[in-house]
């Protein structure tokens, strides 16, 4: 009897590595099509609105890039932790902390030269986000406390903290009751590129991606991170300080997420406000996984998910809930996970005598 069986791959298949994510995205949209149709929507119409909303005009395209920037940075942030199998799902809170600290600098010293204010804001954002990564990182590294739960719990704390500030001490008296801080001085705002809302953050994200790639591929530390991710035992055996590296990775991961928050307030909102991140930290997890933790793939996937977000706003006008974007995101991840089996195994027809 010929039978279909899964055979373990001897080595990585490049084709499978590229094909599986692409097919997962396609299948997720096919699933979404069925889902929308069953819910009584004209799926073709919803998708075409989504596409036009994301790419249809110059403005739409620029908005897609605007949304892709935080996803790129946050995706890179979590990808570093994921490499070491540290499940940092606290990027959301780290973004809020970064936004908070950067806003503090902007509000206090906005009148100085941008060449002083912007770097200080970046430093503050990185530090605050890094601290938000340091807490679960230290607990994980030295006391074995589950980082999935601590990072997630800290998200709620950070969001409440920013809410407290914008409803309370930092509230702009001129905001007529809206939870907004005063607007930053010009020197605390990241310059835009051209006449769009796309800002310097795009370049920062690109630089971070390149630096990540170089560090991971070519430095001794990057090598240690990769080894620890593969096997902690092997790393310990080779004399690597696993705990210290874990802590370092969580701080950098949190720091980059914090930088994401800084870039959002400095580049887009120009003030601290409630809901500064509409879940970028969570979407970043999907972006990182879909990009197979490769920095350049993450940049491209972030662009796709930026489009999904902007397109999602577009379909709201047609009466479709914005939640459809989350349904699609979840579906992408499901198909990707299901497809990963083809990266590890190959399908083969085998003739078997007897089991």
């Amino acid at each position: 009897m010929p039978k279909l069986r899964l055979i373990k791959r001897e080595e990585d298949s490049f084709l499978a590595r590229v094909l599986v994510p692409v097919v997962s995205v396609i299948l997720a949209f096919v699933f979404g099509w069925a889902f929308l149709s069953l819910s009584g929507y004209e799926a073709g119409d919803v998708y075409s609105r989504m596409f036009k909303g994301a790419f249809g005009t110059y403005y739409a395209l620029s908005e897609t890039i605007v949304k892709a920037i935080p996803l790129m940075l946050a995706g890179l942030a979590v990808s570093l932790a994921f490499r070491m199998k540290l499940w940092n799902i606290g990027a959301e809170g780290q973004i809020y902390m970064g936004a908070f600290a950067a806003s503090g600098v902007a509000l206090a010293m906005g009148t100085y030269s941008p060449f002083i204010v912007i770097p200080l804001m970046m430093l503050a954002g990185f530090t605050a986000g890094g601290l938000w990564g340091f807490i679960p990182g230290a607990l994980r590294a030295y006391w074995h406390v589950n980082e999935t739960i601590t990072t997630l719990m800290l998200n709620y704390v950070a969001i409440s903290w920013v809410d407290y500030l914008v409803f309370g001490p930092w509230k702009d008296p001129a905001s007529k009751g809206f939870p907004l801080s005063p607007i930053f001085a010009q020197s605390a705002q990241l310059p835009n590129l051209g006449d769009s809302r796309v800002h310097l953050g795009l370049l920062i994200a690109a630089v971070v991606a390149i630096v990540f790639y170089l560090i991971i591929q070519y430095t001794r530390w990057g090598y240690e991170v990769r080894v620890i991710g593969e096997s902690q035992e092997a790393a310990r055996y080779a004399g690597m300080d696993v705990a210290r590296n874990m802590l370092l990775v969580m701080v950098i991961s949190g720091g980059i997420a914090g930088l994401t928050g800084m870039i959002e307030v400095s580049g887009i909102t120009h003030r601290l406000q409630q809901g500064i991140s509409p879940g970028y930290g969570y979407t970043a997890i999907i972006v990182a996984w879909l990009g197979r933790l490769n920095p350049f793939a993450i940049i491209m996937v972030a662009f796709l998910f930026g489009a999904l977000l902007v397109g999602g706003f577009g379909v709201q006008l047609a009466g479709v809930s914005f939640s459809i974007t989350q349904v699609l995101q979840g579906a992408v991840l499901f198909f990707l996970l299901a497809g990963e089996i083809f990266m590890k195994y190959k399908l083969a027809i085998v003739r078997e005598e007897a089991e």
């Binding site: 373990k8 819910s39 499940w87 799902i89 607990l139 006391w143 074995h144 406390v145 589950n146 999935t148 739960i149 601590t150 997630l152 719990m153 800290l154 709620y156 704390v157 409440s160 903290w161 809410d163 407290y164 409803f167 309370g168 969570y282 997890i285 999907i286 996984w289 809930s321 914005f322 939640s323 459809i324 974007t325 989350q326 349904v327 699609l328 995101q329 979840g330 579906a331 991840l333 499901f334 996970l337 299901a338 990963e340 089996i341 590890k344």
Partner: protein
């Protein structure tokens, strides 16, 4: 505070702890079989919305509970298929389930946002017992799902520690290779535990939308699913210790609410942080105390591949 106020606070503690207890029991079951399902929050949300919609359209809250249980089980089946059959990464699959469930529930519940629930579960004081001073108010004057959650905790404990099936489940979570060798189907056991776990998460969601806060709000579980996951560690994978933990977290929530009502001079934003910070603190204390990880199922989080024996 007088006695009546203390009784009311403790009663509120139990009610706040009940959804966490349902969800934590489900997660205990799944993790005992060696599977980590981080999709509790998503399964709860889908349970909450489907329970709400079915109850509102049929007028029968038991049908709503049924719908919630079924939808929670189906959500869990996706996770089971990916992690057991396809041996995918359990952490990422659970996260996907939460993201998917959040979106799916928001999508389904869009036109019900903020709608009140007329057919919610009402308190069902137990005759005689509820007349007892203090204890009657604290323990015996709740809706029926509270009683069910407690009974269920005992049943699951008995099932897990005193029956052959329970032994089977635990052996699959500790050493799937050995279980397989004696003829136990590892995947069947895991499918069962993951899906029953999902059903309980769905029930937990329905408790929130049909009894605790009878309405539908997007994201109304507000992290309780995650607190339930943390609680499993606190409970050392034991449903009876789970009761204790659930009421501890329920107590923090009830206290937060009370302090707000009493007008204590702390910003409500700080009070809102309280349950999450307590969760971290408790998790740290429990983890540090049980350093050797003895309580954790040995094969937790690992996919079982027969060929890698």
């Amino acid at each position: 505070m007088d006695t009546a106020a203390v009784a009311a606070l403790l009663a509120a503690t139990i009610v706040s702890g009940t959804p966490i207890l349902f969800a934590a029991m489900g997660e205990i079951l799944a993790e005992r079989s060696g599977n980590l399902n981080l999709g509790v929050e998503g399964m709860m949300l889908v349970g909450a919305v489907s329970g709400f919609i079915v109850t509102l359209s049929t007028g029968n809250h038991w049908l709503g509970v049924f719908a919630a249980v079924v939808s929670g089980g189906l959500m869990a089946a996706i996770h089971a298929f990916i992690t057991v059959t396809l041996r995918g990464n359990q952490v990422v699959s659970g996260l996907a389930l939460t993201i998917f469930g959040t979106g799916f529930s928001g999508f389904l519940g869009k036109s019900y946002q903020g709608a009140p629930m007329f057919f919610s579960f009402k308190d069902l004081p137990i005759p005689v017992l509820s007349e007892l001073p203090f204890v009657g108010k604290v323990l015996f004057s709740h809706d029926i799902l509270v009683y069910i959650s407690l009974i269920l905790a005992f049943i699951i404990w008995y099932f897990m520690y005193r029956t052959k099936w329970g032994l089977t489940i635990r052996s699959v979570g500790e050493n799937p290779q050995a279980a397989d060798a004696v003829g136990i189907s590892v995947s069947r056991v895991r499918y069962f535990c993951i899906m029953v776990g999902g059903m309980l998460a769905g029930l937990a969601g329905a408790y929130i939308s049909l009894a605790y806060a009878p309405t539908w709000q997007e994201n109304m579980t507000a992290g309780r699913g995650w607190i339930a996951v943390a609680l499993v560690i606190f409970a050392l994978w034991n449903p009876l210790r789970g009761i204790l933990g659930a009421y501890l977290f329920g107590g923090v929530e009830a206290l937060t609410y009370w302090l707000q009502i009493l007008g204590v001079n702390i910003s409500s934003f700080f009070l809102n942080m309280f349950p999450y910070i307590i969760t971290i603190v408790v998790l740290v204390m429990v983890t540090v105390r049980s350093r050797d990880d003895a309580a954790s199922p040995e094969a937790l989080g690992l996919a079982y591949d027969r060929e890698e024996r």
